[in-house]
């Protein structure tokens, strides 16, 4: 283990902003992509269902 305490871990040797922003932004972008695709699929299925009823 590299870290003396949780506080040291979150502090990242003083580079907390840069390190956590990098990882956080990455996680956010990937999560948003998955969510938007799930919404897009539901919408496409919904439209197809409307067409099928006609």
């Amino acid at each position: 283990m590299q870290w003396a305490s949780w506080a040291a871990f979150f502090n990242m040797g003083g580079y907390a902003f840069y390190v956590w922003f990098s990882f956080g932004f990455t996680a956010l972008c990937l999560a948003l992509e998955v969510l938007s695709l799930q919404k897009r699929r539901l919408k496409a299925l919904h439209l197809s269902r409307l067409l099928a009823q006609e």
Partner: protein
């Protein structure tokens, strides 16, 4: 197939993050800030790989007039653009503490920015043409011409004097870094690969549903049929 790739992506990501933060040692020069490498380098790799694969699918679609190939290219583009953006943003967050600047007009950074514009151009061009088959052909042409940029990015650190450092990992030579750092990076790169496969399959499924709305097989899908 999608849940399997999603599961693999999650597992590789957890293992990669564990190695990156709990096992890999502190860099003697850069302190803890170097840990950005674990997300920056895999994202930059993916931005180039995805472009090559996208151009490959686009070219195949153009040559064989295959609709599915063109749809695969279309499905990969947004994910490639996201990884390019991530490489740029994380690079910027790394550049600020280490170089003292968020951005410099260095050959590596500039060519990566051009890659982002190529992805955006591809997406915009395709969505601006109403006829999907014509959009596929126009997009494929743009994607193929843009491939020339990928070797420029890759070799930029050799061809020009760049502020961006040269590559630490070269094929055919021992990597100049500690094994645990390398493992962390490779695990996260694998996670991004699995993620890309899962997400592009999700997207191509949406594209098929949207394009083939009137086809009989869509009408018979369990999610559609009443």
């Amino acid at each position: 197939m999608i849940p399997w790739f999603a599961l693999l992506a999650t597992l590789f990501a957890l293992a990669g993050l564990y190695v990156s933060f709990a096992i890999a040692p502190t860099d003697f020069q850069q302190g803890e800030a170097y840990r950005i490498i674990f997300v920056h380098v895999p994202a930059a790799w993916m931005s180039m790989f995805i472009y090559i694969i996208m151009a490959g699918w686009a070219g195949l679609g153009l040559a064989l007039n295959a609709r599915l190939s063109a749809m695969m290219a279309q499905a990969l583009a947004p994910t490639g653009a996201i990884f390019t953006l991530l490489a740029l943003v994380t690079g910027s967050l790394w550049g600020k503490p280490m170089w003292g600047a968020w951005w410099v007009w260095d050959a590596r950074l500039t060519s990566e920015l051009i890659l982002l514009f190529l992805y955006i151009g591809f997406i915009a061009l395709q969505s601006s043409i109403d006829d999907p088959r014509r959009a596929d052909r126009a997009g494929a042409l743009l994607a193929l011409v843009g491939v020339v940029n990928v070797p420029i990015i890759y070799f930029s650190v050799k061809w020009w004097n760049t502020l961006h450092q040269g590559s630490t990992i070269n094929m055919g030579a021992a990597p100049k870094m500690v094994a645990t750092m390398l493992i962390g990076m490779l695990l996260l790169a694998l996670a991004f690969w699995m993620y890309t496969i899962a997400v592009s399959l999700m997207r191509v499924r949406c594209i098929m549903l949207e394009r083939e709305r009137n086809a009989e097989w869509v009408q018979l899908l369990s999610g559609v049929k009443k």
